[in-house]
Structure formats: C-alpha cells, structure tokens
C-alpha cells in the first residue's frame, strides 16, 4: 500500500470532484454517503500503509512517493510528494478514521439543509487538505495542505453565511490564521537558505550541522504558524468564534484534526527544535502552559455549550505544546490522538443535544436531558471522564505523560498543568450537570419555543448515534496504545521513535499519577458540590465569561485605532499623494491660462509641451554629456 499512499488524499479528492459536478443531482443524502465512502476508503488505504510500514524494520519505516515535480526553479526543487513514516501514518489513521465517523454523523445532522451537498463538498476538500498537510514530503506541500485546511475552515465556519456572525467568524479565522502563515513561510525561507531544500527529511537531517541561531529562527517562526493554526496565545481568538459553523465542523476541524496541525508541525521539525537555543522550547512550553490555564479559566464561566468545548480545546492544545516544549513529542502526539477521540465525541454529543433541542445552545436552558437522550448522555459522560483525566479512560494516560514531562522540565510548569487539570475536571463536570442532570429547565422556556409547537427534546437518529458509540469506545480504551508500564506497552512511543526520538524520564511516575488523579477527583467533587448539590454559589465572574476581555480589547483596537490608521493611509493617498498630482495639474493649468500661450486642459498640447521638453533634454544629453 505504501506506493499508493497518494490514494489517501486522492480518494476524498475524487469525492470532491464528483460532488462538485454532480452534487445537486446526488443531493440529500446520496452526496453524504459518497463523501463518507471516499473518506472511509482513505482510512482503509491508511490502515494498509500502516501495516506495510509495520512489517519493515524500524529504521526502514520511511517511504517517499513522488507524484510530480511541482515548483522547480534553480536550486529550489520542490516535488509534489508524500512522505509515509510513522508520524504521518499515525496522523492519517486518526484523521481519516475520525473523519469518516464525522462524515457519517453529518449525514444525519445536515439532513434537510438546503446546501446539503455543498457541505460534503467542503468536508471532502477539507479531508484532502488535511491529509496533504500530514503527508507532505516537504514544507511546501505541507503548506499547501495547511492553507487548504484554513480555506475550508473559512468556508465551513461561514457555511450559514446569511448569518452575520457566521460570516464574520469565518473571516476572522482566515485572517488570524494568515498571521500564523506568515510565520510558517518565514520558517520555510530560513530552512531553504540554511539547507537548500524544503524536504522534511533534508531539513531535519541537516539540523545537526545548522547554526544554532538558524535552528532557533526556524523553530520560533514555525511556532508562530503553529500558534495561529492551533489557537494558542495570542492568536487563539478565532477558535471560540469558529463555533458558528455547523457542529460536525467544530468536531472535525476545530477539535480533532485541523487545530492539531500546529502540534504536528512542531513534531515534524523536532530535530531542528532539539538543536535550537534552549529558550525556544522553554518559550513553547510556557506559551502552552499559559494557554492551557488561561483557556481553562474562561471555560469555567461559559454558558454556551459549544463555547465551553471550544475553550477546552484551546486548553488541551496548550497541553500538547507544553509537551512539545518539554521535549516529549510522543506525549504530544499521544494526547493529540486521545483528545481527538474524546473531544470529537464531546462535540458530536453536543451536536446531538443541540439537534435534539432545536438549535438551543444555552446550557442554562437545558438540564435532565439524560432521560430523553440516554445514548447521547451515556457517551457524553464517557467523554467527560476521559477529558477529566479519570483512570482508566484515554485522557488520563496521555495527560499523565504530559504532566510527567512537564515536571522534568520544571515543577512550575507541572503545577500550572495540574491547576489546569483541576479546572478541566471542574468545568466539564459543570457542563455535564447543567446539560444532563438537575431540573429540566427547557420547560421554563416553552413559551419562547412556542413557534415550534410541541417542544420536546428528542434523541438523535441512529446514523448520528453510531459515531458517538464508536468514539465512546475509543475514549475508554484509547489509552491502551501507549501504557506506561513497560517499554513494550509504550507502543506508540516505540512506533514513533524513529521520527520523534525518545524522552526518558527519571521521575517516579506513580506519585505523580496519584496526585493527578486526586486533582481530577477534587475538581469533579467541587463541581458537584456547586452545581448539583448547590452547597456553594457558583463562581462565574463576568471577567471570565468575557474571556478576560482580551477579544473585546482586540476588537476595540481593530475597530478603533487600527481602522483609523488604515483610513489615514487611504486619506493620505487620496489627499496628499493624489492631491499633489492634482495640485501640479492645477498649477500648470493656471500658469498656462495666465500666460495664454497654451490652451489648457488639452492633452494634445500637453503632449506637444512634453515633446519640446524632450528635445531640450535630448540636446542636453547629446551635446553636453556627449562632449564630456
């Protein structure tokens, strides 16, 4: 299968092409099934490639498939080529696997939407881009996918573009991501200048001979790109707004796959990061830890079901960067995979809730939904336990890996990670209680919902529940891919070792794991005390609900001084530069009228005047300069 690894993106591409031409004829639900089939086909190929790679010895697990020479100019030789190695195939497996489930779910979720086939058109294009991103043999092919996912994200966030907020959110996501893209481009330029190639293998193998400042520059500029895509401080702003898109999009793009591209990028250039100045990884770890904590505090006070999960995603991505900065790349990828399981599950679950609640997203109007949506509730609870870090659910193992690495890096970072874990357990418990337990508050708003007639939340159709059940299963057992008991149970770490190297820790694992578990349980209990037993009033200050006013401040700056500066430039152009031009014009005209030798305003005469001038200049050149 390795020689046809190009099929992995090609299958969804074929789906895209077919839906582009025949989308309307296929319609609802055939277009959806076709798209799902293509994504599923990509998964099958990825599984095949995985086993092919596995059958080789560890140092041989690298296979490059060149499709054609893409941008060859002089010393710059870029092929459209794919690199199959343990890292890219791991990414492919979970991208196509979860992607297929979400495609399937979307058939139910988007049923009845007038733009049904267009949704799957975009979704398949997204799958193509994401797979090109992870399979890229060189930085430019990865960048092709990188921009492709950004574009699809834009198209899908503003999918319901009649809604002002959706259109604005899409634009915001694209432009903010472009700030990151600038960083990625510069990382490429530095790499090209230092190594003469853009291929990942070439750049990474040249890392040890690279000047340290160059390596640092590549790492830090790539990190700017990563911060844009993976919504880290200070570029995270677009992700909460991206929830304007349909919920399957939030699950696929803004939780499971695209937003992890930044983490993937940093792992891809890990050999370069390893030789960079030590402050580079430290900075990455600090930004990751700070983002994790920052976003978790905001999640505590959100009432929109999807926004809680959005901030939670930002927070969990922060963990992954904490791992990258601590040198534990495998832990980052491990958490990326488990997070993809449980966060996709949580988002799809929230989609089922929103679907069943007739597009209600405010958790204050929910409650007691476990009675009407038993399967959604049960799977959501699995997701909750996984993200909260309760053993033996998937999130526990991967988060524990990261905390261990953070402890090795610095106990302060570990402590920040621990506080974040506490908050995570707390806000997720809050969400579960508000949505599925307590009093059914949707009755209180019956009148407002009157337009719908008899309003009764309902369970989702089987096509939506199946993905939930599968993901719940993965969220329970997902940790098994990398258990810390011995070297043989650390399957993921062993598998990724040829690409990412090893991260050995001397710290005792068990005490840290016990502390982390205790912290998770404390967070859950505290939340139960507040939201279920009402022993204490909830602490949800406005400053947290408003996300520390950061978004508001940025918007205010952009709409205020930023806009004024832009308008200043436009004014300057219209009045100063063009004003000077018109001034000269008037002057010439005025002088002309006074002297009455030229009939002003007539182009022919201007031209004649110019002609005379030319002759004079010419004479000067030929006579004066010619004589010199």
């Amino acid at each position: 299968m390795l020689n046809v690894v190009w099929l992995i993106p090609a299958l969804p591409l074929a789906g895209f092409a077919i839906i582009l031409v025949f989308g309307r004829r296929l319609g609802d639900p055939k277009a959806g099934y076709l798209a799902t089939l293509m994504c599923g086909g990509a998964f099958v190929v990825a599984v095949g490639a995985f086993f092919d790679l596995l059958s080789k010895s560890a140092d041989q697990r690298q296979h490059i498939v060149k499709v054609f020479a893409w941008v060859p100019v002089g010393s710059l030789k870029v092929d459209l080529a794919f690199l199959a190695d343990p890292l890219s195939i791991t990414m492919c497996l979970f991208v196509t696997g979860i992607g297929t489930l979400i495609h399937l779910y979307s058939i139910g979720y988007m049923h009845g939407d007038p733009r049904f086939s267009k949704f799957f058109l975009y979704l398949n294009l997204f799958a193509v881009s994401m797979l090109v991103l992870v399979l890229g043999e060189n930085m430019l092919v990865t960048f092709l996918g990188w921009e492709g996912v950004g574009t699809c994200s834009y198209l899908l966030i503003s999918f319901w573009h009649e809604r002002e907020s959706a259109a604005t959110a899409g634009k915001k996501a694209f432009v903010t991501n472009r700030v990151g893209d600038w960083g990625f481009m510069l990382a490429m330029f530095f790499a090209f200048q230092a190594t003469g190639t853009l291929s990942w293998v070439g750049v990474n193998s040249a890392a040890h001979t690279m000047a340290q400042t160059t390596a640092t520059a590549i790492a830090l500029f790539a990190f700017i790109g990563a911060r844009g895509k993976s919504a880290q401080l200070p570029l995270y702003l677009w992700l909460p707004d991206a929830m304007e898109g349909p919920t399957p999009v939030s699950a696929l793009i803004h939780a499971a796959t695209m937003v992890t591209a930044g983490v993937f990028l940093m792992c891809r250039i890990s050999p370069v990061l390893n030789v960079a100045s030590s402050y580079a990884p430290t900075l990455i770890a600090i930004v990751g830890a700070a983002t994790a904590l920052f976003a978790a505090t905001i999640a505590v006070a959100q009432n929109d079901m999807k926004r809680v999960l959005a901030y939670s995603t930002i927070s969990q991505l922060g963990y992954m960067f904490l791992a990258v900065g601590s040198g534990a790349y495998t832990a980052a990828i491990f958490h990326m995979v488990t997070h993809a399981f449980f966060k996709a599950l949580l988002f799809l679950g929230s989609g089922a809730v929103i679907h069943g609640m007739h597009n209600e997203q405010d958790m204050r109007r929910m409650g007691a939904l476990r009675k009407v949506m038993p399967i959604t509730a049960a799977t959501f609870i699995v997701g909750w336990l996984a993200i909260a870090g309760v053993p033996p659910f998937a999130g526990f193992w991967s988060k524990d890996d990261i905390l261990l690495a953070a402890y090795d890096k610095s106990p302060v970072l570990w402590a920040v990670g621990l506080v974040t874990a506490l908050l995570t357990a707390y806000y997720m418990t809050r969400q579960v209680i508000m949505v599925f337990y307590g009093k059914a508050r949707w009755h209180d708003h019956h009148e407002e919902q009157g337009a719908h007639g008899d309003f009764e939340p309902h369970e989702s159709p089987a096509i939506m529940l199946l993905p939930l059940v599968v993901l719940a299963g993965l969220s329970i057992v997902g940790g098994a891919i990398n258990l810390p008991f011995s070297h043989t149970t650390e399957r993921l770490a062993t598998w990724l070792e040829p690409v990412l190297g090893t991260h050995d820790s001397t710290t005792a694992k068990i005490p840290l794991a016990v502390i982390a578990t205790a912290i998770a349980l404390i967070g859950i209990s505290a939340s139960i005390m507040v939201y279920a037993k009402h022993k204490r009033a909830p602490i949800e200050p406005e400053v947290l609900a408003q996300g520390w006013y950061y978004d508001a401040a940025v918007s205010k700056f952009m709409g205020g001084p930023g806009r004024e500066a832009f308008e200043g430039v436009a004014w300057y152009d219209a009045n100063v530069i063009d004003g000077a031009v018109n001034g000269v014009g008037r002057l010439v005209r005025g002088t002309g009228q006074r002297i009455r030798t030229v009939q002003s305003g007539n182009v022919r005469n201007y031209a004649a005047a110019i002609g005379v001038g030319v002759v004079l200049l010419l004479a000067w050149f030929v006579v004066v300069r010619g004589n010199l």
């Binding site: 002089g74 092709l144 492709g148 002002e164 040249a206 030319v614």
Partner: protein, 504 residues
C-alpha cells in the same frame, strides 16, 4: 527556424483587424463584432502556436525576425520572444478574445472594437520588440487607444481619469525617449548608430552615465507598473475605464512596466540596477503594504481591485531587484498570474455592475444566497488573488518571497506580511457583498449566465492548472531568467546566490 514570420503576424493581424473594423459600415454591427472576434481569436491562436513551438531548452530569443527599417539610424523591425516575454504574449493573445467576447460597450461598438484591436497590436509589438526605437513606438501606440477607450466608453469621471492616465504615462515616456536616444548615442562610440537591444546590451557605460540612463527608463516603467508614489493614475483609470478596458489595463498593460524594467532596465544597465536596488526594493515593499491598506478602505469594488494591483505588482518589483533566479522567475510568473486573476476579478465586477448599476460595496449584499454559482466563481478568483496555494497566485508570490529572502531578507520578511493584508481586504469585501441576507435591491440578482460562464471558464482553468502544475511555465521562463542573471554577473560582481549546501 520557421520561415513564416509568426511574430510579425502577431502584430499585423490585429492591426489589419482594427483597420477592417474601422472601415466597416455602421449598418452591419454583427459583422463588426464577428470580424473583431475572429481577428482576436486568430491572434490568440497564433500566440498559442508560438507557445507550442517554443523551444524550452533555448534561453535565447526565438522566432527572430529582423528587417532594416531606417538604416542611417540603425533602426530595424526586430522581433523576438524568449521566456520572459513568451507568456505575456500568450496572455495578450488569450485575454483579448475573452474581453471582446465577454464584454459589450454601451455604444458605438465599431470604434470601440477598432481601438481594442489596435491596442492589442501595440501590446504585442511592445512585448516582441528587440529594438529600442521600435519598442518606443509600440509603447506609445498603446497609450492612444487606451486613452480613447477610457474617455469614450468609461464611467462618470472618465475624462479626468483618461487625461490623468495620459499625462502620467506621457511624462514617463518623455524620460524614456530621452533615455533611448541618449543610450544609442552614448553606446555608439566609433561604431555605427544602433537601437538594437542586443547590440546595446553589449555596451559598457561609465557608472554615472549608466545610472542616469537607467533612471530615465525606470521612471517610465515605474509609472506604468505603477510603483509608489507614482500610482495615483491607476485607481482612477481602472475605475473609470469600461470593463474591457480595466481587464486589459490590469491584465496586460501594467505588465509593460515590470517587463520593461527587466528587459530594458536591468538588461541594459545591470550596474545601475544593482546600485539602486535598495530604493526599488523599498518602493516595492511599500507598494505591497500601502496598496493593501489602501485597498482595505475602498468603498468602490473597482477601486479596491485597482489598489490590490498596486500591492501585487509590488511583489514583482521586489522580485526583479532581489535578482535571484527564483525571485525573477517568480516575478515573471506573477506578471501572468496577476493578469489572469485581476482580469477575472474585473470581469466579475463588470458583471455585477451590469446587473446592479453600482460598484459601491455598501449597496451590495447577500449575493451568495441568490447567485451561488456566481459567488463560487468569485470565491475561486478571490482565493487565487489572496495567494492560496494550489491556485496560480501563490506560485509567483511564493517564488518572489523565497528568492528575495536570499538577497534581501528584511524586505522579504516585511513583504510576506502582505499575505495577511490581502486576505483582509478581499475577505472583508467578499463578506459585505456576498454574505448576509440579500435586501430588496439585491434579491433579484441574476445567476451566472451561459456566456459569462464561457468567458470565465478558461480563466478558472488557468487559475487551477497553473496553481497545481506550474512546471511547464517555470521550465520556459527560467532559462531566460538565468541568462539575464548571467548577463548581470558578467557586467557586475554579482552572482546568483545559492543556499548553503547547494553546489553553485
């Protein structure tokens, strides 16, 4: 060498068409249109033939035709095409039939089409001339039809815009004429007088002389590009010109500036170009940022696209003067890509105007809901203009940036931020025009018509194909660019920089 004078035909066919259309009777308008269309299609076919027959391994001028014209002055009808001009010729050949088929003037079709064909002849001649005097003649010929097209078939402020356009370019031309004549006389030495580009390029000028001469050429081309701060004729001309005029202006005519800088500026005066590079790099980068910021704040769609041209052409200027094989190849690519994308954008804005009789962004709303296919086409063209990889716009800009990074790192760093701004102004405009619920005035906005689709389809094809597979173009452009850089190396101490680890 083919004996058939194909390049001469590229100039003569549209000229003949122009005359034919002009003498036709006004009573048979359908013949007029048909003749014009056939002429432009024939020219387009010839240009494609040149593309097919072009030998990509040969960096020299091909299909060369040379006939003595004015012997005592050493002026000849000397035409030739190389990798730098090849795609400009093809672009000219292809875009004219699209414009003639796709847009209609609101009155006096006959004269309009006659001017159009003369414009095509002038542009072809400019891109093919290898004689300075001949080039100047064509360069000036181009002005006249464009002036009349804007003044005769433009919008409300057309007279002001046409006059401004004419004066700006005439001032530039005056400098160039002086430069051309002085170059020929100063290079003469004891030999015969010649205006032949290839002969003149062999001459060695004293540094200060070369710099003066370069300056004379550069001013003319800087106006045409346009390079900041000589750009203010462009938004007016673009906005006021009829759709067809805007497409030609942006798609082909601006390229005379960047092409001229390469073909005449850098080629004839390498030392001066090297010496003044910081100035041009800076002006190029200012153009990128300044044009984008000004575009963001425009209220008129056409003005917005016009300012975006200032930004896009800034990349080409950056690429030319960074002078690496990647950056110049990228600049030549960008020349073509900008022509295709911006030409397509102007066509689309023209279609919006035909339906709504307004170009004001604030008067348009929610078009995507009522015309999804139209919106989809606009989206693809817009993404190409933003420079999303996989579409044509990216390839040129990226090559310019990565090439410039080798010799002009900090300029490239600033220029790269232009990609953020490009997304900002276009997406913001797109949101205001296409997103939202259409209001009363926009709810009957018509979907893309068959004829419009037929016009856009080839452009979309080029946008996608070039983005995914630019190699055929790069293979033809690069040898000539390399040759140009070698020429610069011979004349100065400059060499094309190689990244570390690459054998030179």
């Amino acid at each position: 060498m083919i004996s058939f004078p194909i390049l001469t035909m590229l100039v003569l066919v549209p000229t003949a068409g122009s005359i034919l259309v002009a003498v036709f009777s006004n009573r048979r308008p359908e013949f007029v249109k048909l003749t014009a269309l056939l002429t432009s299609v024939l020219t387009g076919g010839l240009s494609v033939w040149v593309l097919v027959a072009f030998d990509k391994a040969n960096a020299d001028f091909q299909f060369v035709t040379k006939h003595i014209w004015i012997k005592p002055w050493g002026i000849s009808w000397h035409l030739g095409v190389d990798g730098i001009s090849l795609f400009l010729v093809v672009l000219t050949g292809v875009i004219f039939p699209i414009v003639i088929a796709g847009t209609d003037p609101h009155h006096d079709t006959k004269r309009y089409l006659s001017w159009m064909l003369l414009l095509e002849a002038g542009l072809m001649g400019s891109f093919l001339s290898l004689d300075l005097f001949l080039f100047f003649v064509f360069f000036e010929i181009v002005l006249v039809p464009m002036y009349f097209l804007i003044a005769g078939w433009g919008y409300e402020g057309r007279v002001y815009a046409a006059t401004k356009f004419f004066l700006f370019t005439m001032v530039g031309s005056a400098f160039m004429l002086v430069g051309i004549i002085a170059t020929a006389f100063l290079a003469k030495g004891n030999g015969p007088l010649t205006f032949d580009l290839i002969e003149l390029a062999k001459a060695d000028f004293a540094a200060s002389t070369g710099r003066w001469l370069f300056f004379a050429f550069a001013v003319a081309f800087a106006v045409k590009v346009p390079i900041f701060p000589l750009h203010t004729w462009l938004p007016d001309a673009h906005t006021q010109a009829p759709t067809g005029g805007s497409v030609i202006l942006a798609g082909v005519m601006l390229k005379l500036g960047t092409y001229g800088l390469l073909r005449f500026g850098v080629f004839l005066f390498p030392e001066a170009a090297r010496w003044s590079r910081s100035l041009w790099l800076t002006l190029g980068v200012i153009g990128i940022i300044y044009g984008a910021i000004a575009a963001t704040m425009q209220k008129d769609l056409k003005r917005l696209v016009a300012y975006s041209s200032v930004a896009h052409l800034g990349f080409i200027v950056l690429g030319i003067f960074a002078m690496t094989s990647q950056s110049i190849t990228g600049g030549v690519m960008q020349n073509i890509n900008h022509g295709v994308s911006t030409g397509a954008l102007f066509l689309l804005v023209g279609m919006i105007y035909e339906r709504r009789h307004t170009r004001q962004i604030s008067e348009l709303k929610g078009l995507q809901k009522v015309a999804p296919i139209f919106a989809g086409v606009f989206m693809v063209v817009m993404l190409s203009s933003i420079g999303v990889p996989g579409l044509n716009g990216f390839v040129g800009e990226y090559l310019v940036l990565i090439g410039s990074f080798l010799t002009a790192r900090w300029w490239a760093v600033v220029a790269a931020s232009g990609v953020i701004l490009a997304a900002l102004y276009l997406l913001w405009a797109y949101q205001r025009v296409f997103h939202g619920e259409p209001d009363e005035a926009n709810k009957d906005f018509g979907e893309l018509k068959l004829r419009e689709a037929a016009v856009m389809l080839p452009l979309l094809g080029v946008i996608v194909f070039t983005g995914l597979y630019p190699k055929p173009m790069l293979d033809r452009i690069e040898p000539s660019v390399k040759k140009l850089i070698e020429h610069v190396s011979e004349k100065t101490s400059y060499t094309d920089p190689q990244p570390v680890g690459v054998a030179p």
